[in-house]
C-alpha cells in the first residue's frame, strides 16, 4: 500500500531549480532511501513533506491527505515524525522531559491547557518515556540536561522523541552524519530494530554502507530530479548513478 505520494513537485529558489518534477511513491513498511550528491535537493524535498517549505507546484499526499499548506504540527499529528540533520532537541530540559513532551503531544493533541495536573502524577506517560529511553540506551542519563549529551547521544535522543509517538512515517535526514563507525553501526542496529515495528521510513543518507544495510528501495536524486529508482542491488550497478556521483565530484 502506498503511504506517501509525491507527484510533479517543483521548487525554485530564485534562479536555482532545487526540485524539478519530482515523483516519488513510498510503500507502507518499506525503508526508502533517497541518495544523491550534495545539492541534489534531498533536504529540500524532505522539507516539503513536513510543512517547512511549500512547493511551487505539484502535490504531496500522505495516506490520501494533502500535506501542502498544512502546518508542521498538523503533519506530525497525523503521523509523520522527522529527525533533523543537526539534532533538534529541548536542550535545557532533562532527557526524561524531552521524551515526555512528545508522548504528551501524542496523547493530548496540539494544545491542551493541562495546568492543574502534575507532571509527577503522569505515571503512564512517564513509564512509556522511560521505556523508550531504555530502548535507545539512554535510561541511565534520564535526569541529565539534554545539551550535555554527546552528538551521537543527542541523535539517539531525537530518534527516541520521534519513535515514542509511534509515527506511521519517519523521516531521517542523515541519521549517522558525523558519527564514528561504531556509533554508526549502533544506529543501524537501532534503526533495524525499529524496522520490526513496521514504521515506514524515508532515509536521506550519504553513507552507502548505511543505505545498503537498511534500504529496501532507493531513489537517486541529482540536480533536483529523480534519475534512478529501484532495489539496492539494481542501483549499485546503475551507470547513471555512478555518473551522477562522479560528475558531482568534479564540480
Amino acid at each position: 500500500m502506498e503511504i506517501l505520494n509525491v507527484s510533479n513537485v517543483n521548487k525554485r529558489f530564485g534562479g536555482l531549480k532545487a526540485l524539478d518534477e519530482v515523483n516519488l511513491s513510498v510503500e507502507q513498511g518499506h525503508v526508502h532511501a533517497i541518495i544523491g550528491p550534495n545539492g541534489a535537493g534531498k533536504s529540500t524535498l524532505l522539507n516539503c513533506f513536513v510543512g517547512r517549505l511549500i512547493p511551487d507546484s505539484g502535490s504531496v499526499t500522505f495516506l490520501g491527505k494533502d500535506l501542502i499548506g498544512a502546518k508542521p504540527h498538523e503533519i506530525n499529528q497525523i503521523g509523520v515524525s522527522r529527525v533533523f540533520q543537526t539534532p533538534e532537541i529541548f536542550g535545557d530540559l532533562t532527557l526524561l522531559d524531552n521524551i515526555m513532551i512528545p508522548t504528551l503531544a501524542k496523547r493530548d493533541g496540539a494544545f491542551s491547557l493541562n495546568a492543574w495536573a502534575r507532571v509527577d502524577g503522569l505515571g503512564e506517560i512517564r513509564d512509556k518515556a522511560l521505556h523508550m529511553l531504555e530502548d535507545v540506551g539512554l535510561a541511565e542519563k534520564k535526569g541529565m540536561i539534554a545539551d550535555s549529551l554527546s552528538r551521537g547521544d543527542k541523535r539517539r535522543l531525537e530518534l527516541a522523541m520521534c519513535l515514542v509517538q509511534d509515527p506511521k512515517l519517519l523521516l531521517l535526514d542523515e541519521p549517522t552524519a558525523g558519527m564514528s563507525r561504531a556509533d554508526t553501526n549502533n544506529t543501524i542496529d537501532l534503526l533495524k530494530r525499529i524496522g520490526e515495528r513496521g514504521i515506514t521510513k524515508i532515509v536521506i543518507e550519504h553513507d552507502m554502507h548505511v543505505v545498503f544495510s537498511l534500504a529496501s528501495k532507493i531513489s537517486v536524486l541529482a540536480q533536483g530530479t529523480v534519475i534512478a529508482e529501484g532495489k539496492p542491488e539494481d542501483i549499485k550497478g546503475d551507470p547513471r548513478v555512478q555518473e551522477a556521483y562522479l560528475g558531482g565530484a568534479h564540480v
Binding site: V50, K71, P72, H73, N76, Q77, S81, R82, F84, E88, I89, F90, G91, D92, L93, T94, L96, D97, M100, I101, P102, L104, A105, K106, D108, G109, A110, F111, S112, L113, N114, A115, W116, A117, R118, V119, D120, G121, L122, K142, G143, M161, Q165
Partner: protein, 381 residues
C-alpha cells in the same frame, strides 16, 4: 544538586511561604519595613512579578509592556468603585476581566513575533495605551488628574450619598487600608503563588519550558506553540491586572503613569534580580526593589551625618557627600549597581546565590542519601 520535587515538598514550600508572608509585619519590622504601606507594595508588586515570571521565566518571551495590564486593572477597579460601590471583590473581578481582554488582544498580535520584535511590539502597545489614557480617552481615564471616586458617583450597591466620609474600599465593613489592606493583598499573593506553583509543576508548564527551549522541535513534535504562548501571556496579564486592581483597592485612584515604560521595566528588573524561571525569585526581587525605593530614598544628608558622625570631620564630609549620591533621589544608582553585580556574578539572580550558599552548607554536612532524581526537577527553586 536538584532535590526531588514531590507533592509533599511542594506543600511544605507552600505552607512555609504562606507563613512567611502572613508574618511579614513581624520579621520585616527590625529592618524598618514593617509598616503597612510598604507591606502592601511588597504583596502587590510580588504578585505582579510572579505573573510576569509565568510568561518570561517559563516561555522566555520578554514583554516590555506589562505595566499596561497593571494600569488597566487599576482603571477597571476604580470604575467598579464608581459604578458598583466600594467593595473590592467586584472591583477585582472587573480588573480580571478587562486585563484578560487587553492581554488577549495585545498578545494575539505581539506573539506573531518573537525575541526583540516581540519586546518592541509589547512596548509599543503599552506606550500607546499610556498616551491614549492621557489624551483621547480622558472621558474614561480622567487624563492627567487621574481617575478617582467621587461622592456623586452612582455606586449602586453602596447607594450614593449614604456615605459622606472619605471614600475607602471596604470588604464587609473592614477598611482596605493599613494592616487589613495588607492582609487582603497578602491573601491574593498567596493564591497567586499557589496558582503559579501548580503551573510550574503541570504538563502545561512543561510545554511552556519547551517553548523557551526549542520552538522548532515543538512544532515538529505536533504541538502548536501559539496557543501555549497566548495562554501564558493572558495568565500573566491577569496577574498584573489583579495587582493593578489591588493598587486601587488600597488607594482608590488610578493614573496613566502606572502604564509608563518605567513601570514595565521595573517588573523586568524585579524578575531578573530575583531569578527568572524560579518560583520565589520574582517575589524576592519585587520586595528588594520596593524596599530600596522606600528605605534608601528616605535617607538624606542629616541621616548620613548621624550615621558617619563617629568619623573625624575631615573624613566625614567627603564620605557623606559620596554616600549621598546613592541615597535619596539617587537610590536608583544603588539599585543599578546591585543589578549589575547580580547580573554579572549571579546570572540566575538572588535565587542562584541562595542555591550556591545552600550547596556549600549541604557539602559540609554528612551527605544524606541522594537517590537520582527521577522527577524532571525543572529549575532549582
Amino acid at each position: 544538586m536538584l532535590t526531588k520535587v514531590t507533592p509533599r515538598s511542594d506543600l511544605l514550600m507552600f505552607v512555609l511561604f504562606t507563613l512567611a508572608i502572613l508574618a511579614m509585619p513581624l520579621w520585616l519590622a527590625p529592618i524598618g519595613a514593617g509598616y503597612p504601606d510598604l507591606l502592601q507594595k511588597f504583596a502587590i508588586f510580588g504578585l505582579f512579578a510572579l505573573g510576569f515570571n509565568i510568561l518570561f521565566g517559563l516561555t522566555g518571551y520578554l514583554s516590555f509592556g506589562h505595566a499596561v495590564f497593571l494600569g488597566v486593572g487599576s482603571y477597571a477597579a476604580v470604575w467598579s468603585f464608581k459604578l458598583l460601590g466600594m467593595n473590592p471583590l467586584p472591583a477585582l473581578l472587573f480588573s480580571v476581566v478587562f486585563s484578560a481582554l487587553f492581554a488577549l488582544a495585545i498578545g494575539f498580535i505581539s506573539l506573531r513575533r518573537s525575541g526583540i520584535y516581540f519586546s518592541i511590539l509589547t512596548l509599543a502597545f503599552a506606550q500607546m495605551s499610556y498616551n491614549l489614557a492621557y489624551s483621547v480617552l480622558t472621558p474614561i481615564t480622567n487624563g492627567e488628574t487621574g481617575l478617582r471616586v467621587l461622592q456623586s458617583d452612582p455606586r449602586l450597591l453602596d447607594g450614593s450619598g449614604s456615605d459622606t466620609g472619605p471614600l475607602i474600599s471596604r470588604l464587609f465593613g473592614i477598611e482596605m487600608t493599613g494592616y487589613s489592606g495588607f492582609y487582603f493583598c497578602a491573601v491574593l499573593l498567596i493564591v497567586g503563588f499557589y496558582i503559579s506553583q501548580r503551573i510550574f509543576r503541570s504538563p502545561f508548564g512543561m510545554m511552556l519550558r519547551a517553548v523557551k527551549s526549542n520552538q522548532n522541535r515543538m512544532s515538529y513534535t505536533g504541538l502548536n506553540t501559539r496557543p501555549y504562548t497566548l495562554a501564558a501571556f493572558v495568565i500573566s496579564g491577569v496577574f498584573a491586572g489583579v495587582a493593578g486592581g489591588l493598587l486601587a483597592v488600597t488607594d482608590p485612584l488610578a493614573g496613566a503613569e502606572r502604564m509608563q515604560w518605567t513601570a514595565s521595566g521595573e517588573v523586568v528588573l524585579m524578575t531578573i534580580l530575583g531569578g527568572a524561571g524560579t518560583l520565589l525569585g520574582p517575589i524576592l526581587g519585587a520586595g528588594l526593589i520596593k524596599y530600596f525605593e522606600n528605605i534608601f530614598s528616605a535617607y538624606n544628608e542629616q541621616t548620613l551625618h548621624a550615621i558617619f558622625s563617629f568619623l573625624p570631620d575631615v573624613i566625614e564630609a567627603p564620605v557623606v557627600s559620596i554616600a549621598g549620591l546613592f541615597v535619596g533621589e539617587g537610590w536608583h544608582l544603588t539599585l543599578g549597581l546591585l543589578f549589575m553585580v547580580v547580573v554579572i556574578f549571579l546570572p540566575g539572580g538572588i535565587m542562584e546565590g541562595l542555591n550556591r550558599i545552600s550547596k556549600i552548607f549541604s557539602r559540609s554536612k554528612p551527605k544524606p542519601k541522594f537517590t537520582s532524581s527521577s522527577q524532571s526537577a525543572a529549575a532549582a527553586e
